[in-house]
C-alpha cells in the first residue's frame, strides 16, 4: 500500500448501505458500444433554456456537428453523436415521464467526424478562449445536474473563487462509471481539472474520491504531482458527493443555507465533466458520449459502457446481456436519487450516469405507517433537518409549518426514506411540500 499522501474528510450525517452493489461492475473495463442505426437525441439536455435547432429533416450531418445552438447564457449547444442524416424531429419519452423534443439521426454507419476546431495548448491559452471552447462543446455537469459548465465557470465578479473541488466521490450505490474513468483515463480527468482551475484562477484544486476506490486514488496520485492537484480521500458515506457536503468534507467550508457553492468561494465539477473539458480543449471534440454503468441484480452482464447520447436504453440493456425475467424497476441514475422509467424508448443524455435494473426483491416498498420517532432520519439527514417532523406535518398538510422547518433546504437525497424502519415515503412528502410551497409563492 502506498504511503498515504492524501488527506481525508467527511460530513455529518448520511447513510451507508450495508451492500453497495459496486462489486457488480467496478472491475469492468469500459467497453465502447457498437454503432446503432438510429440515435434519438433529446434537444434539451441541460438546465436552463433548450438550444435552438439549426438543422432540418433531411439534412446530412457529420459526427460532432452542431445541430442546435445555445439560446442565451444558461444554455448549451447540441451536437450529433454520429454521421448520417436527420430523419425526424419529433417527441420521444423523456426520463422524467413527460415526452421531450428530440432529433432522430439515422446513422450512415460510417461514424465520421466533421470538421473539429483545433486543439489548444491550454497552458498558453487564456481563460476566455478556454471558456469559449467549453461553451462550444456543449458541456454540462455530467454527474446528474446537467448545469451548463461554462456558467459555473463564470461566477459574478463579487464572488471570489478560491477553490475548485472535483467530485470523484460517486457516492450513489451501484454506479461505477466515474470510478472506471478515473482508473482508465486519469490524465484526462486531471487535465480537465487543471484547465478549469486555470479558467477560475485558483491555486487550490482538489479531487475528492471515496475511500472505496483506493485503486483510483492511487492512480490519480501517480499522475497528480505535475498538476498540483490535491487528492482527498472521503469516508464512504452517502451522499458524500452532494455539493455542500463535498465542499465541507474537502475544504471545511460551509455553504450558507439557501446559497450556492460560489457563496463559499468554491466551484464544484464532476470527474466526467473534467474529462469532457479535456477532450474539448485538447482535441476539439464536443460532448457526444459518456461512460454509463449498466447494472443491477436483474441484468445478466453488468458493466460500464461508453454510450453515445441518443442511444435508446433498450439497446443499452441488450449490451449488458439483457435481463432476467423478474425485472420490476428500470432506473436512470443511481438507486438513491434516480428516476424510475416506464418506457425503454428513453434515450441516453449527457448526464445519464447509470441504468439500473432491479428485481422485485431489491426495490423499496413504502407504507404510510406511523412514525415511531426513532430519530434515525435525523441522524441520516446531511442537511440536519428533522424529516420525522416534516413527514408528520406534510401528512397533515401543514405546509407553512413545513416551510418554517426548512423543508426547502431538503435536497431529496433519500437518506431519510432509506433508513426509516417504518418505511415511510418521506422523500415523496418533501417533494409534495416543496411543490405546494412554490405554488404558494406564485
Amino acid at each position: 500500500m502506498s504511503t498515504k499522501n492524501y488527506s481525508t474528510g467527511t460530513f455529518q450525517g448520511g447513510i451507508h448501505p450495508s451492500y453497495d452493489g459496486k462489486d457488480l461492475s467496478k472491475d469492468s473495463v469500459v467497453a465502447v458500444a457498437p454503432l446503432y442505426e438510429k440515435y434519438e437525441v433529446a434537444l434539451q439536455q441541460n438546465i436552463g433554456k433548450a438550444p435552438k435547432l439549426i438543422v432540418a429533416v433531411g439534412d446530412d450531418v457529420k459526427k460532432g456537428q452542431k445541430i442546435a445552438e445555445a439560446d442565451g447564457f444558461v444554455s448549451v449547444p447540441l451536437h450529433s453523436p454520429t454521421s448520417g442524416v436527420v430523419e425526424a424531429i419529433t417527441q420521444i419519452p423523456g426520463p422524467m415521464g413527460a415526452p421531450v423534443n428530440a432529433v432522430v439521426i439515422k446513422s450512415d454507419m460510417r461514424d465520421e467526424w466533421g470538421e473539429l476546431p483545433e486543439g489548444l495548448d491550454w497552458h498558453n491559452a487564456d481563460a476566455a478562449t478556454l471558456k469559449q471552447r467549453i461553451a462550444d462543446a456543449g458541456i454540462v455537469g455530467m454527474g446528474g445536474a446537467a448545469f451548463p459548465s461554462v456558467v459555473k465557470l463564470s461566477p459574478p465578479p463579487e464572488k471570489k473563487i478560491t477553490a475548485l473541488v472535483i467530485n470523484g466521490a460517486e457516492c450513489e450505490p451501484y454506479l461505477t462509471a466515474d470510478h472506471r474513468l478515473m482508473l482508465e483515463s486519469p490524465e484526462r480527468v486531471l487535465t480537465g481539472a487543471a484547465i478549469m482551475g486555470k479558467i477560475l484562477g485558483v491555486e487550490n484544486i482538489y479531487i475528492g474520491v471515496e475511500l472505496n476506490k483506493k485503486d483510483a486514488i492511487d492512480m490519480l496520485l501517480a499522475h497528480a504531482e505535475k498538476y498540483n492537484i490535491k487528492i482527498v480521500g472521503l469516508k464512504v458515506q452517502y451522499p458524500q458527493g452532494a455539493e455542500k457536503q463535498l465542499i465541507y468534507a474537502v475544504t471545511d467550508r460551509k455553504v450558507p443555507a439557501g446559497g450556492l457553492p460560489m457563496d463559499a468561494g468554491v466551484v464544484v465539477q464532476n470527474t466526467a465533466t473534467c474529462a469532457a473539458v479535456a477532450d474539448a480543449v485538447i482535441e476539439g471534440k464536443p460532448l457526444i458520449d459518456r461512460v454509463t454503468t449498466i447494472t443491477g441484480e436483474a441484468v445478466k452482464n453488468p458493466g460500464n459502457w461508453r454510450l453515445k447520447i441518443g442511444t435508446p436504453i433498450r439497446e443499452a440493456i441488450k449490451l449488458a446481456g439483457g435481463t432476467t425475467d423478474d425485472v420490476r424497476k428500470v432506473i436512470l441514475g443511481g438507486p438513491m436519487m434516480g428516476f424510475a422509467q416506464k418506457s425503454l424508448d428513453v434515450t441516453i443524455q449527457k448526464n445519464s450516469s447509470g441504468i439500473l435494473i432491479f428485481p422485485e426483491s431489491k426495490i423499496a416498498q413504502y407504507q404510510s405507517s406511523p412514525c415511531i420517532r426513532c430519530g434515525r432520519c435525523l441522524q441520516g439527514c446531511p442537511m440536519k433537518l428533522n424529516p420525522a417532523l416534516l413527514g408528520r406535518l406534510i401528512e397533515n398538510e401543514k405546509f407553512e409549518l413545513a416551510r418554517d422547518n426548512h423543508v426547502m433546504d431538503c435536497m431529496e437525497c433519500g437518506s431519510c426514506a432509506f433508513i426509516c424502519p417504518a418505511h415511510r415515503p418521506l422523500v415523496q412528502h418533501m417533494r409534495r411540500a416543496k411543490a405546494e410551497i412554490r405554488n404558494m409563492k406564485k
Binding site: I317, K329, P335, S343, A364, Q365, G375, L378, A422
Partner: protein, 382 residues
C-alpha cells in the same frame, strides 16, 4: 451469430413500477426493532424467573397475553385492521415491560387491568403506536400503584434470601437479608413456611421506613445495614426483593449493552439519567449523610437501571435530537433524586419518566439542530 439460441430478455413494460426515489431501503422494520428489544429483555426476564420462581413466569405470560388481547380488542372495536396493528409486536414489548415492573406476587386480574391501562389508556386512545406521549407500561404501573397500592407494594423475597435467613438462623448469625423481613416473616421463614406466603421489603423501602421512624432526619446508622458493600453484591446480581425485572442490575446491564450495540437506544439517556442521580445523591449524601444513602446504593436499587435503559429510552416517548435526549435524561435524574430524597414515595423513577415524557414535545421544539449552513441571524436593533 448462429450459435446464439438463448433469447435476450428485456423488461416488460407492464411489469415496470414507477415510483419515487430512493429505490432501495434498509432491511430493518419496526417489527425487527421490537424483536431485538424483546431479546435484550430476556436476561432480565430470566433473572426474574431465576430469583422469584415460576410465579414470575406467570406474571410475564399474563401481561403479554393480556396486552396483545387488549390491542386486538381495541382494533376490533375501533374497526382498525387487526393484523396490521399487531404485527409490529409493540404490544408484546409493552407486556414484557409491564411484567418487569410488577412484583412476582401480582395476581392475574391485576395484570389484566394493567394490560388495559397500558394499551388502551397508554397508547391506543392517542392514535396508536407513534402517537402516545407517555410510556404505556409506566402509565399502567403508576395507574395500578395509585389504584391498588397495597397489592402493588407487596414484594416477594427471592428463594436465596429465604435460604440465607434460614441458614443464618441455624448458625445463630446475622444476615443482611433478614433486614428486609418483618419479625413475623422472619419467624415464618424459620418455621419453614411456604415461600408464597412470605413478603419482604425493598432496599429503598427499608430506607424510607428508617427515615420515617428515626428521631433525627434519618441517620446514616440506620442506612448502613442495607447500604454496605456486602449488600451491593446482592443488589447487583439480583438477590433482593422488588419488581421482577428491576432487581438484577447485572441482567439489566447485559440487556442495556445489547440495546446499545444494536443501536436501539440513545446512549445519552441512560448515561445522563444514571449519572445525574449519582451526582445529586452523591452530593447530598456527602454533605448530609443522614438524609439519603450513598450514590452507589441509589444506582443499584429501585429500578433505576430498568428505567434508564428500557423505559426512558422508549423511542416514541423520548426526544428525537441528541441535545433533547440529554435534557430529558437530566430531568429524569433530577426528579428521581428529588422524590427519593425528599418525597414520600420510596421510588421515583416511574414518576420522573412520566413527568419528562409530558415535557418531550416542549423539549423537541426547543432542542433543535441548526440546518447545515444556516447562518446565525443577526439580532437587529428594534
Amino acid at each position: 451469430m448462429s450459435e446464439e439460441t438463448t433469447q435476450l430478455i428485456l423488461p416488460k413494460h407492464e411489469d415496470l413500477v414507477v415510483s419515487s426515489s430512493p429505490h432501495i431501503q434498509v432491511k430493518d422494520s419496526v417489527t425487527a426493532i421490537m424483536f431485538k428489544v424483546i431479546l435484550a429483555m430476556v436476561p432480565a426476564m430470566a433473572a426474574g424467573i431465576y430469583f422469584f420462581g415460576l410465579n414470575a413466569l406467570w406474571v410475564i405470560l399474563y401481561c403479554t397475553i393480556f396486552c396483545v388481547g387488549a390491542e386486538v380488542l381495541w382494533c376490533l372495536l375501533a374497526k382498525k385492521d387487526v393484523w396490521k396493528n399487531i404485527r409490529d409486536c409493540s404490544a408484546l414489548v409493552t407486556g414484557i415491560l409491564l411484567a418487569l415492573n410488577l412484583s412476582a406476587a401480582t395476581p392475574w386480574w391485576v395484570c389484566l387491568i394493567g394490560a388495559f391501562l397500558a394499551i388502551w389508556l397508554g397508547k391506543q386512545i392517542f392514535g396508536g403506536i407513534g402517537y402516545n406521549p407517555f410510556n404505556p407500561a409506566l402509565v399502567a404501573r403508576v395507574g395500578l400503584l395509585i389504584a391498588l397500592p397495597g397489592i402493588m407494594t407487596t414484594w416477594v423475597p427471592t428463594r436465596q434470601m429465604v435460604d440465607d435467613v434460614r441458614l443464618a438462623a441455624a448458625d445463630k448469625q446475622y444476615c443482611i437479608s433478614s433486614d428486609f423481613f418483618t419479625a413475623e416473616d422472619n419467624k415464618n421463614i424459620i418455621e419453614n413456611k411456604e415461600i408464597e406466603a412470605l413478603t419482604c421489603a425493598t432496599p429503598l423501602g427499608v430506607i424510607s421506613t428508617a427515615e420515617k421512624s428515626s428521631e433525627l432526619c434519618g441517620s446514616s446508622q440506620s442506612f448502613v445495614k442495607v447500604d454496605n458493600v456486602n449488600a451491593y453484591k446482592d443488589y447487583f446480581f439480583g438477590n433482593i426483593g422488588g419488581c421482577l425485572g428491576e432487581t438484577s442490575v447485572l441482567a439489566l446491564l447485559i440487556g442495556g449493552l445489547l440495546l446499545l450495540i444494536w443501536k436501539l437506544i440513545n446512549w445519552r439517556i441512560p448515561v445522563f439519567f444514571v449519572g445525574t442521580v449519582f451526582i445529586i445523591t452523591g452530593a447530598i449524601n456527602y454533605f448530609y449523610p443522614g438524609l439519603t444513602p450513598t450514590p452507589i446504593f441509589h444506582i443499584l436499587t429501585g429500578g433505576l437501571m430498568l428505567g434508564a435503559f428500557f423505559m426512558a429510552t422508549d423511542m416514541v416517548t423520548s426526544p428525537m435530537t441528541n441535545s433533547g435526549a440529554i435534557v430529558f435524561a437530566i430531568g429524569c435524574g433530577v426528579i428521581t433524586s428529588a422524590i427519593r430524597i425528599w418525597g414520600n414515595y420510596p421510588e421515583g423513577v416511574s414518576f420522573s419518566i412520566l413527568f419528562m415524557n409530558a415535557l418531550v414535545p416542549f423539549i423537541d421544539k426547543f432542542c433543535t439542530r441548526r440546518v447545515f449552513g444556516a447562518v446565525k441571524a443577526q439580532k437587529e436593533a428594534k
